[in-house]
């Protein structure tokens, strides 16, 4: 059995490698294809590891430094895997005025982690982002891509509990 602490990189994972190759192959001749490839890899694989970045550079015949430069520029690209569930706080203006900070405080307390971190069991990642475009429902917390609008601390506690309970039940 392989060690569970050091998960295998997606590039060498026989299940994921074909997905990676397909994404690159589909866009290899596209003008400006690097962004398209990275966006697709981020959404299908979940993150862009260093070996993946090097592989993309090689396939598209561009310097690795350029790939690193692009990955580090955009906040959507991550180089480490996120948790199984992602809780994202919108800290755009409408949500800030609407009191999103209280939700962040609540989550920090319940999960013991800061935004940008993942719980030690790899279950939940907390993130902040700027305006998800649902401002009329501010403040908004996005749980696994679903917007939860008009949040209040008490209501939000239940949202987190639901994520934890569903996970415990699964």
């Amino acid at each position: 059995m392989t060690s569970t602490t050091q998960p295998i990189d997606p590039l060498y994972n026989p299940k994921l490698r074909p997905i990676i190759d397909k994404i690159i192959e589909d866009n290899i001749d596209l003008d400006g294809g690097l962004m398209v490839v990275l966006n697709n890899l981020q959404s299908k694989i979940g993150f862009l590891s260093a070996p993946m970045q090097e592989y993309v550079a090689e396939c598209l015949s561009i310097p690795v430094s350029k790939v690193h430069g692009v990955v580090s520029f955009y906040s959507f690209f991550t180089t480490v895997p996120r948790g199984k569930h992602v809780i994202k706080f919108c800290i755009g203006t409408a949500c800030y005025v609407g009191g999103i900070t209280q939700m962040v405080d609540k989550a920090k307390q319940m999960l013991g982690i800061e935004p940008g971190q993942t719980t030690s069991d790899g279950m939940i990642t907390l993130e902040v982002c700027r305006c998800v475009g649902a401002c009329s429902q501010a403040p908004v917390v996005v749980v696994d891509e679903v917007n939860n609008g008009r949040m209040k601390p008490a209501k939000f506690t239940k949202v987190i509990e639901k994520v934890l309970n569903d996970e415990a039940a699964a």
Binding site: D31, G32, G33, L34, M35, V36, L38, N39, Q42, K66, G69, V70, F73, Y74, S75, F76, F77, C90, I91, G92, T93, A94, C95, Y96, V97, G98, G99, T101, Q102, D105, K106, K108, Q109, M110, C129, R130, C131, V132, G133, A134, C135, S136, Q137, A138, E145, G149, K152, P153, A154, T157
Partner: protein
């Protein structure tokens, strides 16, 4: 026993019957017969489903549980076809979708004029025929059969249409420059990056009426002589991207996009490209770099994109709403269009009303309406009976305008002169509980994080300003901070390369100008008048009012509150992080702020 794949429940409430429920039921049966699926669908009467007054006649369809409301004789055919043949919910009559829609785009208020938002919620964005049925693509037909590219440009010039992306540059002029550029090929780009926090007008148009943008782009492409276009959409808008892709595919199938459009010989192809979460990519040169697959850093202009843009070729960039205006102008004519708006700003503008206003959501008004009319007559005034403090327009590069500016008419020049900007249409209303120093700090944190770092004044200057504002909010402000802030703002404004740096000082300058007393209270009295800044306030529980209900203790994120049930609770000030949750959740107003 017969097997039914669906069951329709028809509400037979007396009011529904009065409103024609029986006829609707007959019609549904006829239509199912016509589509040859009557034996697959069971139809039952139900005593009542939704509210008959507002939703009748209505039906419920199982197993999906779709609730269709306010049905009319015309609705039956599309409903049966969409739901039972194509297997998708018909948005227009779906209660669920209406609820969602209502929150973002309500029924228009009296003072509104809906041009860009006209179709939103009324047509199915994933069905091109719905758009065509509202005279969609008629403007394109007119352009391709009756007008030369020069005619089109002249008409857009005469309409005085100005770019809706923020700066308000005349669109006709921009098209003229792109037309005059010699190099080929030429590109059309639609800026759908909509990064201003608090704004979602563009998203709604792309999700609710995507063909209006496509039609505008094809007309523009014909005018400037381009055969390839891109819509650059921010990654936060996955539904907009998928809706747009469906719309592009359908437009191609109908010969309205792609090769030889409407048999005219003119060809134009369109592709969607996604951003990846960088605000500065809304700036046109940064956006171009991003489509090219690079870091989205702005570059010096000139050369402007009209001469050297995407891959060094002439490129025309407009905002989503700018393009959506085009078909309306061409189809309904100049007289109609120029009758709306103010002297220098014609037509309408959409705004996203957000913050502490009673009715949040998208609205659309002619240019020239006052802020007061927008906030009070349309927005319903301030939420929860609080007092107005400021309205912020134009996003992070805009300014905060106080009560005395409420009667200003909203257009590019007036807002600019008042120290704010039009921007793309975000409008955030702030009530008396908002701390303006904290708001300035908030925006500076935003620009500091989003600065691409290419030029020093923007990169270093915004950090310096942020540090000072953070110190003031934390109670460490000194009198010299105010002149220091002013001079830093001046420097950044003068010496930054792109609009992000040039506009970054606006929130600080405008709050310094209009709310200096709040800065002074923080600096001299170590007091936050709005009771927001955490280092300058403390929470206490009133012995008289506390009933010992324990709600606060259960909600405190740091367990700073102790107390027995039914006895007065106490906050441990050493642990309390002053988040205000206890204040908010207490039903007895027992938690006081000092």
């Amino acid at each position: 026993m017969a097997y039914y794949r669906s069951t329709i429940l028809v509400s037979m409430d007396p009011i529904c019957i009065e409103k024609g429920a029986l006829q609707i039921k007959e019609q549904i049966i006829e239509e199912l017969k016509l589509q040859k699926i009557l034996d697959e669908v069971q139809i039952l009467d139900s005593p009542r489903i939704g509210d008959p007054e507002t939703e009748g006649p209505d039906i419920l369809v199982y197993p999906e549980g779709s609730h269709y409301i306010a049905l009319t004789p015309e609705s039956v055919h599309p409903l049966v076809v969409e739901h039972f043949i194509k297997g998708r919910e018909l948005a227009q009559y779906s209660a669920k979708m209406r609820d969602l829609m209502d929150e973002e785009v309500r029924e228009p208020k009296d003072k509104e004029v809906r041009v860009i938002l006209e179709n939103i919620g009324k047509i199915d964005p994933r069905n091109i025929e719905d758009y065509i049925a509202t005279d969609g693509y008629s403007a394109l037909a007119k352009v391709l059969t009756e007008m030369t590219p020069e005619d089109v440009i002249q008409m857009v010039l005469d309409s005085k249409l100005r770019g809706r992306g923020g700066a308000g540059f005349p669109t006709g002029l921009k098209w003229k420059f792109a037309r005059q550029a010699q190099a080929t090929p030429k590109f059309m780009v639609c800026n759908a990056d909509e990064g201003d926090p608090g704004a979602f007008m563009n998203r709604k148009v792309l999700e609710g009426d995507p063909h209006s943008v496509i039609e505008g782009m094809v007309i523009g492409a014909y005018a400037v002589g381009s055969s390839q276009g891109y819509v650059y959409c921010r990654a936060e808008y996955p539904i907009a991207v998928s809706t747009l892709n469906v719309a592009i595919k359908q437009a191609k199938e109908y010969g309205l996009l792609g090769e030889n459009i409407m048999g005219s010989g003119f060809s134009f192809d369109l592709e969607v490209r996604m951003g990846a979460g960088a605000f500065v990519c809304g700036e046109e040169t940064a956006l171009i770099a991003s489509i090219e697959g690079s870091r989205g850093e702005p570059r010096v202009r000139p050369p402007f994109p009209a001469s050297k843009g995407l891959w060094g070729k002439p490129t025309n960039i407009n905002n989503v709403e700018t393009y959506a205006n085009i078909p309306k102008i061409i189809y309904r004519g100049l007289e109609w269009y120029t009758s709306m708006g103010s002297e220098k700003s014609k037509g309408t503008k959409t705004f996203a009303l957000a913050g502490n206003v009673a009715h949040t959501g998208l609205i659309e008004v002619p240019f020239g309406m006052t802020l007061r009319e927008i906030i009070y007559d349309i927005g319903g005034g301030i939420k929860d009976g609080k007092a107005f403090k400021a309205v912020q327009t134009g996003g992070p590069m805009g300014g905060c305008l106080p009560t005395c500016d409420l009667d200003l008419p909203v257009d590019y020049e007036t807002l600019g002169a008042a120290g704010s900007i039009m921007g793309s249409g975000g409008m955030i209303v702030m009530d008396e509980d908002t701390c303006m120093v904290d708001i300035a700090r908030f925006f500076m944190e935003f620009t500091q994080e989003e600065s691409c770092g290419k030029c020093v004044p923007c990169r270093v200057g915004t950090r310096r300003i942020l540090e000072i504002l953070e110190r003031i909010c934390a109670g460490g402000g000194i009198p010299e901070d105010i002149p220091m802030l002013r001079s830093l703002c001046e420097e950044i404004k003068q010496d930054s390369l792109c609009g992000l740096g040039q506009g970054a000082p606006n929130p600080v300058v405008s709050t310094l100008n209009h709310f200096l007393d709040e800065y002074e209270a923080h600096i001299y009295e170590k007091r936050c008048p709005a009771k927001v800044c955490r280092n300058l306030i403390s929470y206490h529980i009133s012995e008289e009012k506390c009933t010992g209900c324990t709600i606060c203790a259960r909600n405190c994120p740091v367990s700073a509150i102790t107390g027995e049930r039914k006895l007065t609770h106490v906050i441990n000030q050493d642990i309390c992080i002053r988040c205000g949750i206890c204040h908010q959740v207490c039903n007895f107003d027992a938690v006081e702020v000092n």
